[in-house]
């Protein structure tokens, strides 16, 4: 991990940005972050996935968010949420092809600030789980800055990074597609998901996360520290 990332994840930096935050992000920072010395069993996680109009957080926008909460290493399906977000610009053809969300679908959807007001309380005190977290962190960070005047800091577990560590540990060469969510799930004997949207991918990542933890420590006594990004 680079120095810049260390600073961004530090509590000092958190104190600094907390003061600049407004609205829902302010309230989010009022809740202390998850304690990295606690066990994963005692930690609450939020598995999250986004769909966006492109890959550049500065230029592109979030069109949907899906998440699910994990408590005591169990995925709680009652906490599932899936929300569409109305972007400020019309959806481009290429992005529609990818996520199949059309302008008509999002015409009545909330804007990103409203969506974040819904999401941020769910993230407070929890650890983010994402498959390839830089995307989620980049887009959410940009959105928080635009809407609430400060970036987002959240302890994060990246299932892709955990998978990468698993593969490196075996010493085997990496096969193409080895880090894809579907393939990783199959390797852990998890059932396939036919649908693909933000929520199904969040749920898929949550299942993979449980499998990755079980592999490291079936009892879940593992310290959170050991798996954070």
């Amino acid at each position: 991990m680079g120095l810049r990332q260390k600073i961004i994840d530090s509590s000092l930096y958190r104190d600094f940005i907390q003061r600049k935050a407004t609205g829902a992000l302010r309230t989010y920072y009022d809740v202390p972050p998850a304690d990295p010395s606690r066990s994963v069993m005692e930690t609450e996680f939020i598995a999250l996935d986004l769909e966006t109009t492109g890959l550049d957080p500065k230029r592109d926008e979030i069109v949907s968010l899906g998440w699910v909460i994990i408590r005591q290493l169990g995925v709680d399906f009652s906490s599932c949420e899936h929300i569409l977000v109305r972007p400020t610009q019309d959806l481009s053809e290429s992005s529609v092809v990818v996520h199949r969300i059309f302008d008509s679908d999002v015409a009545d959807a909330p804007d990103i600030a409203t969506a974040l007001e819904h999401l941020l309380p769910e993230m407070a005190g929890r650890v983010l789980i994402s498959h390839h977290a830089p995307i989620e962190l980049g887009f959410l960070g940009q959105a928080c800055k635009r809407c609430f005047g400060a970036p987002l800091q959240i302890p994060t577990v990246d299932t892709l990074v955990l998978a990468l560590r698993d593969i490196r540990r075996t010493g085997q060469p990496m096969k193409p597609g080895a880090l894809k969510l579907d393939n990783l799930r199959r390797n852990h004997n998890l059932p396939p998901f036919r649908a693909h949207n933000a929520l199904s991918d969040a749920i898929a990542a949550s299942g993979l996360f449980l499998a990755q933890i079980a592999k490291r420590d079936p009892k879940g006594a593992l310290e959170l520290n050991r798996i954070l990004r």
Binding site: D76, F77, H82, N189, P191, S200, S206
Partner: protein
């Protein structure tokens, strides 16, 4: 509901007992669930450990052992554990260990009990044996019968269905699989020193421990078998064997005597008790001497059918079981007739046609039967005997509850009580010089099945029918013409076309517009391809590989047949439960939107395949 939760609901819908719940209820369940993941070899529950959830296996597999370490069950995808804990104040009874990496869905105890309280079929599935589950089955038998035909009175030895198939423990997985396939068994006994039991291997093991784990077929069968399986003694009561099976959730039980295996009893845990009821009913019929008494047993068929359907039987299961009882009554009446009239002067075979022939009877069935006599039959000398025999049996069946066939397609009718040579002439004429009208009437005779007597008499005839029908395009075209007279009740815009006016206003006739067209389609494809099966499922499965119908078409038709048949049976069960006489006339509003759309799909499958049939056969002869 969002797509991914829908997938969880779909998963539940595919597995008992959730499949028995209404869709609206299943759709609320995913949000009640929590997912947990366990590595292979993890002890998920230990005896007396707190267990506040019912565990549903989503992927992977587990093993249940009692506190002494005795293997009780192996569970796989779609099966549940923690059931005992639900009835023991949240304390696990047995230990559960994962055999593979497993993902489980956890349903809270409270939701489990809410479902059990609201939906008897759900409760029934999990009910402790000895409790509700047996009681309702016993009532079925005992309610009308003071002789108490009890489950307690039959021994395991009477239930051993077939010879044991076993393999030495030195065999490889490949050899075991080949033997299972050759012998058509779902389970093998693995032996050592020629007759000592080393273990048991099931098709489930092949799936879970060989294919799923990409294990080499060259490994020894001992690597995948379950060592030291639980077993029963031939003198044990059937009751105890069932108890063992249901409690341990195993489908196969070796029967052991003096340390040697003497047989195997297999069952599909839930249907076991129901079909067993049928076994007892059939056994009971075999002991009665008066059709009036037999009627008392057959009167319970609607009740039996309700239990079967509620327990999740397929229409094929139900048809088979219900037909078994008609067969039993027929055989018993023939025995009684022979006792009364003396032994037959020439050999004969009693044949069932129509739904009894196809083993597809439901709660209401009339009789279709005929007699094939040996060619040594001499009308001068023997007519009186066989007339007497046929009258005795047909009249008896009528009294028992299988009413006379409205078209007189019965052995009682002189025309249908003939020596084999005359039957040959009949079939010759029907096949080589077909007339639409007569063909329509005699379609029941193309679904013949021997019930009692010298079956060889039929075999020769059957061979002739199959080979002649296969080669005769004109006959086939006429059969197609007949088959297409049964229209599917779908309008241009795929809306239902219902019966208008009269007693059955605004209903669908599920028999003539649903079941019969599929039966007809299956019969034609079977006859045209030289397939000798008569059961519709068997016919459709057999014709899959022939060019007259696409594999997809045959599969779709099988699904449609099951759906229409089960919808019809459920409709009849509802009527029986209300105390009404069962019929085939369904008000579509009584179905859920989901069922309605399925029914439309089933009808359009039939329609498509009728059209395809017309193209494949229809043009040449008409």
């Amino acid at each position: 509901m969002s797509i991914e939760l829908e997938e969880i609901a779909e998963f539940l819908k595919q597995h008992h007992p959730f499949a028995l719940l209404p869709d609206e209820v299943i759709n609320t369940l995913p949000r009640r669930l929590t997912a947990k993941y366990f590595r292979a070899g993890t002890k998920v529950l230990s005896p007396e450990e707190q267990c506040l959830h019912l565990y549903i296996i989503r992927s992977g597999g587990t093993e249940t052992r009692d506190p002494d370490g005795q293997l009780l069950a192996r569970l796989s995808e779609g099966e549940c554990f923690g059931v005992r804990a639900m009835y023991r104040n949240g304390k696990a009874a047995n230990s559960i260990t994962t055999l593979e990496d497993s993902l489980c869905y956890l349903l809270p105890e409270k939701d489990f009990h809410d479902l059990a309280a609201k939906y008897p079929q759900f409760k029934y599935f999990f009910a402790q044996i000895g409790g509700d589950r047996l009681r309702s089955g016993m009532q079925l038998i005992e309610s009308r019968d003071d002789d108490q035909l009890k489950l307690m009175s039959i021994r395991v030895a009477d239930l051993i269905a077939r010879d044991l198939v076993s393999i030495d423990k030195s065999a490889t997985i490949l050899e075991a699989g080949q033997l299972m396939s050759k012998e058509r068994v779902s389970c093998l006994l693995v032996t050592e020193d020629s007759d000592k039991i080393a273990g048991i291997m099931t098709d489930r093991d092949l799936r879970n421990r060989v294919v799923a784990q990409a294990r080499s077929y060259d490994e020894p069968v001992t690597a995948i078998m379950t060592a030291k399986p639980i077993s029963v003694h031939p003198d044990d009561y059937a009751f105890d064997a069932l108890l063992t099976m249901t409690r341990h959730n195993v489908r196969h039980l070796p029967v052991m005597k003096d340390g040697k295996a003497v047989g195997m009893i297999t069952t599909n845990n839930l249907l076991a008790r129901q079909s067993l009821s049928a076994v007892y009913m059939a056994g009971r019929i075999g002991k009665l001497t008066d059709p009036v008494d037999m009627a008392k047993v057959i009167d319970q068929v609607p009740e039996l059918l309700s239990h079967l359907i509620e327990a999740g039987a397929t229409s094929q299961n139900a048809g088979h079981i219900v037909t078994t009882l008609s067969d039993a009554a027929t055989v018993r009446l023939l025995q009684l007739a022979e006792e009364k009239l003396g032994p037959p002067p020439v050999p004969y075979v009693w044949m069932a046609g129509g739904s009894q022939g196809r083993q597809e009877q439901t709660a209401l069935s009339d009789q279709d039967n005929c007699l094939i006599l040996d060619d040594a039959y001499d009308p001068e000398k023997h007519a009186t005997y066989f007339k007497g025999l046929a009258d005795y049996v047909c009249d008896g069946l009528h009294k028992v509850g299988y009413v006379y066939c409205p078209g007189d397609m019965m052995a009682k009718t002189d025309q249908w009580r003939q020596p084999a040579r005359t039957w040959q002439q009949y079939f010759n004429k029907w096949i080589e010089q077909p007339e639409p009208k007569s063909l329509m009437l005699c379609s029941v005779w193309f679904d013949l099945r021997p019930i009692h007597g010298t079956k060889g008499l039929f075999e020769n005839l059957h061979r002739m029918i199959v080979s002649k029908a296969k080669d005769n395009r004109i006959f086939q075209a006429y059969m197609v013409g007949n088959a297409l007279t049964h229209h599917v009740p779908l309008g241009f815009f795929k809306n239902f076309v219902m019966i208008r006016g009269g007693e059955h206003d605004s209903t669908l006739d599920l028999k003539h517009n649903g079941v019969v067209p599929i039966v007809d389609l299956a019969r034609i494809h079977a006859l045209a391809n030289g397939v000798d099966a008569v059961n519709t499922f068997e016919r459709l499965n057999a014709v899959k590989s022939f060019p007259s119908i696409s594999t997809q078409g045959a599969s779709d038709l099988l699904d449609a047949f099951e759906f229409v048949s089960i919808t019809r049976l459920k409709h009849q069960v509802r009527q029986i439960r209300r105390g009404d006489a069962p019929d085939n006339f369904l008000h579509p509003e009584s179905l859920s939107a989901f069922e309605r759309s399925h029914l439309k799909d089933a009808f359009s499958v039939i329609k498509n395949l009728q059209n395809a049939l017309e193209h494949a056969f229809g043009k040449s002869g008409t």
